[in-house]
Symmetry: D2
Subunit: 343 residues, 4 copies
């Protein structure tokens, strides 16, 4: 079976596992106060070009989003996001659990536009009854988006400018950041990301780690008493060094970039192969998630040898499917699934 | 350096690590829907003698307590616990984050008594103004307690009877369950625990796992839509099989019991050694945490070669210290620290 | 100045005030345990034809919605409402404060349709990932709607049937119930309302009371320990009898109906007058709120002698305005404002 | 029957009712934007000697405490209070509903001491694990206390100094403020109160108003976007002017003080009478609540003609009872109940 279901189906990248094994018997202090964690933080801040910044490690994406958003918002504030944002649809109400409303705006190719945010803010503050409404006080986007698309430098800059204009922090969910950074002609580096938002997280779980996400900010004053808030949300790992060891490995010799680069290369190989067989992408994604509209019998055919997910409900004659690559994907996997397609 | 600080200073037990390594490259479905997780659940339920029960795996103790308590309580309910309960003191307000009050009662050797609970309930329901008060609706205890003590079968049975009398579930925090079960003359097995409460969790993090806790109930109807609630609390691991693999290993050939047994044996060895040197235990603990009142200069002396924690603020001439053993502790470690004591 | 701004600009209906004055010096027990409150409850249940039902009195609409919804939902449940629902837009996040997501659906003339709800539920339960989503578990509508429209008997019956099909309670926000019941050709009585939903509230604040809302249910088992939850939400009035006295007055001799009837009659008089002057209603409302699209210079003209609100942002040449009648409105008021319109 | 049950058994003081009646038919804008409310605010700030301060009106005490505390605390903060504090015992979990822990300290005559708070803070910040604990971030007291006692100027000054030392706001629940201010030899004026804390509320419900409480602060920056938070908590009254009219009346010609003065005078008359009959006060209260330990047969005797409450559970031969005076109490009432006592 060839696996294209998702990027969290296997364990950790071999180098990550090696390092966890090597360090397994060491005794260190708990809760992220160890040297591995300090070193991982330093590596990340250096790569981001923000030596005065701060990094916090958590276990998973939903908890990371919940804690960060809970800190950035005051009690009676809401967060702006797209209608299909992960926090709005697939996190089971984790943001509302902390009492915050998600204020959704329409999207464009999975992306939030600076124009839409600006219009919303203008209209909110023009409304004389707005004290009866939830105040929009931060913006959430993901990079790449749920649809695999990425913001260009100009789009991100505009969005960040609009956030600045209205005094709101911009937060980027980077669950799949490695793949977004690997989009060649987009030219956004992790350093750019670190400077084009206020807080973001570097996804580990879907990008080579066994598990773990790293929240990064170049404005630590935005996240006061953050460790304590993480603890309150049940988001602190007793053996915190497990996160430190993993991110240290991912960021020591460019492993994180390499994982992203290779998976995207393979995703594009798959995309080209599908298109050469005359199939239509559902959306033009440059990252490790590829979406195609396939005839249902083709889907059935592929499923004999490959595993992948439908995107939304099945259609009568054709359906949208998603193929995801990661560090376990090989050229052979891609070629094999392309080979299964009817001519 | 010899380490007696805590039971989460090293990584995972070698057998656990081996199994994680062996299964690392396999592709499985996410969120605990894999075979490892199913198998781990089955092993646990069998050992507990509750084949119709249900097991849920989470990453850490605070999140486990928060999610379980949030499910067992209705909105305007509170949880009874001792004044020093972990949930009341050291979880940064995780229970209150979900809107629930912790109703604290005095303790006896770290334990909650059936008599105290019964008196509290009687008084609550006798109070005509109790609709203005938070209704006590469940009981939380830990086994072993924060002070390393354990409930006897009679104590636990009485407590469970009182809970039943008042229609409240009893929940046991088993962060260090392995050590509590290893107390020989107490004679409580995991099967007993499973039948003397409604929900409990088997601590992995402090008992040999790399991380992870297993919530167990023989009354699954008490935890409806629990996975979804876990997700809402950010307590679901994408690569859920990591938890399945670990608990499968811990429960396949009695490893969990063995880890508990050995650590307690060493803790008692240490305790005997200290007592033979004329030192006084702060409390008579039969588990892997030992508390001693030591002269401050003895503490200073020991610290040159051993690492351990003060329990509470330092005293003027003597202080309480805690020594914790786990699967990394050796006989040599115990003998060495005893050897450091002045005669 | 003639006032058409809103239905809460004056105090209480003279009969309500008289009764408050008459009873002012009496000593009664607090928190709604007095005879006035019991009597008011009985009068309401009788009029609703549900003698086995239950009534709870609160002070205002937002708190009423927050407490009822918080009780009807379990922690990880959400409430379905229209995109323009009062709870979603103008209650400052009161529902989210309790941790619940509002799941919004498009509306038709301000109304939620049975078809839309059914489609949403079907799609939710067909989605294999729905454990990662907020479960829709109740439906909120208002009667009349924010736009003054009312559900027909058939529409309400269909909606309630769909709720029944999916096992969800239907809750009706009746902030302006008196006016909705006064729509002649709709033919829905308060008895019908009581039987076509699970819980509803009878708005007092906007319908003749000094303040106060009465939550009514013919299924008291849906609102367990409701007084205590009200208290937890800060929604209990110490001098509870103030609410009892008011609702007793409103429901003793048909005053509530009469207030609705008269205000709607005057609203329709105003509507006819405006239409005879060639003006276009923004929506065809049969209740005490009338919406017209007026040229901006006409608006300016009217404002010299009358007070009313714009509905949404002003347009360049014309804008939508709202005129609201209540028990203080007179025929002369209506005729006067019509008289101000240019021919 | 003579009533000494509580100070919320009758309606509003006649002057308050007169003013509500006189203004009943006026049309004003809603939500406290009217002239009555502005004027009431000004009167209060003038009397408090803090013209740059701010006043917010709410309906009841529990909601007032919940909203103020929710604003003064950040998410992961707790509030210090005594073990018997109203917010901890008799508000049904309203503070926890917003996610905040109440950190209780032992009391002295119902009062919190500066020494206890200082010791608690010192110990909290000395504890190296305090990031795992709820940070104490404000202090709640009531004036008078639940037991009718009052803080002396020195006690209050010390407490406020300690709060200042630790950077925490001090909040005073003044549900019965009028009676506390009427304690002659204590010499604390409302101006003193306003300057010896950061936020306090002037109780209306128990001190002559029909209902209503006025939150006062001389540091408005501590309560940002407070109206919106009130709305979120369902604590905004549509006909906000009802609160303005009442407090305007209470503060225009010293009515509030007069109500307090007279009730306390009568309470002391009752106290003297009881003591002259050889009865023992349970606590030496100088305000409108008097507590006596009475033989059960005396209680039975009194109950034939008077109404009052037991304080706590009944004793075998004697019990604690509470007598409360207010603006409805007369000298005759006091003399009558004293006359009922056996010699």
């Amino acid at each position: 079976m060839i696996y294209f279901d998702c990027d969290y189906m296997a364990g950790g990248h071999p180098e990550v596992m090696n390092r966890l094994n090597e360090t397994n018997l060491l005794h260190t202090s708990g809760y992220g106060t160890d040297e591995f964690t300090h070193d991982a933080e330093k590596l990340i801040l250096d790569e981001c070009g923000i030596p005065e910044g701060k990094v916090y490690f958590m276990v998973g994406g939903t908890q990371t989003n919940a804690v960060v958003i809970d800190r950035l918002l005051s009690r009676n504030d809401g967060v702006i996001a797209t209608e299909t944002a992960h926090i709005s649809v697939h996190e089971a109400g984790a943001i509302e659990l902390s009492g915050h409303k998600i204020l959704t705006l329409p999207e464009s190719d999975g992306k939030l536009t600076a124009v839409a945010v600006d219009a919303y803010m203008t209209s909110f503050f023009a409304d004389e009854t707005n004290a009866h409404m939830v105040r929009p006080a931060m913006v959430y986007i993901s990079f790449p988006t749920e649809l695999g698309t990425v913001y260009s430098r100009e789009e991100l800059q505009s969005l960040y400018d609009v956030c600045g204009k209205w005094g709101m922090p911009l937060y980027i969910d980077g669950a799949r950041l490695a793949y977004g950074l690997a989009v060649k002609d987009n030219g956004l580096t992790i350093k750019d990301i670190a400077h084009l938002c206020d807080v973001f997280y570097i996804g580990g779980t879907k990008c080579g780690a066994l598990f773990g996400e790293a929240v990064v900010t170049r404005r630590p004053e935005l996240l006061p008493r953050f460790f304590s808030l993480m603890k309150m949300h049940g988001a602190v790992l007793a053996k915190g060094r497990l996160l430190g060891v993993q991110f240290q490995t991912l960021f020591k010799n460019g492993l994180y970039s390499e994982i992203g680069r290779k998976a995207v290369e393979l995703a594009l190989r798959l995309k080209r192969g599908f298109m050469e067989k005359g199939l239509t992408p559902y959306i033009d994604s440059p990252t490790n998630q590829q979406f195609f509209i396939l005839p249902n019998d083709t889907i059935e055919l592929l499923r004999r040898n490959a595993s992948f997910e439908l995107w939304g409900p099945p259609g009568e004659t054709e359906s949208i499917v998603r193929f995801v690559t990661d560090w376990t994907t090989t050229e052979a996997d891609c070629d094999a699934i392309i080979g299964l397609l009817p001519d």
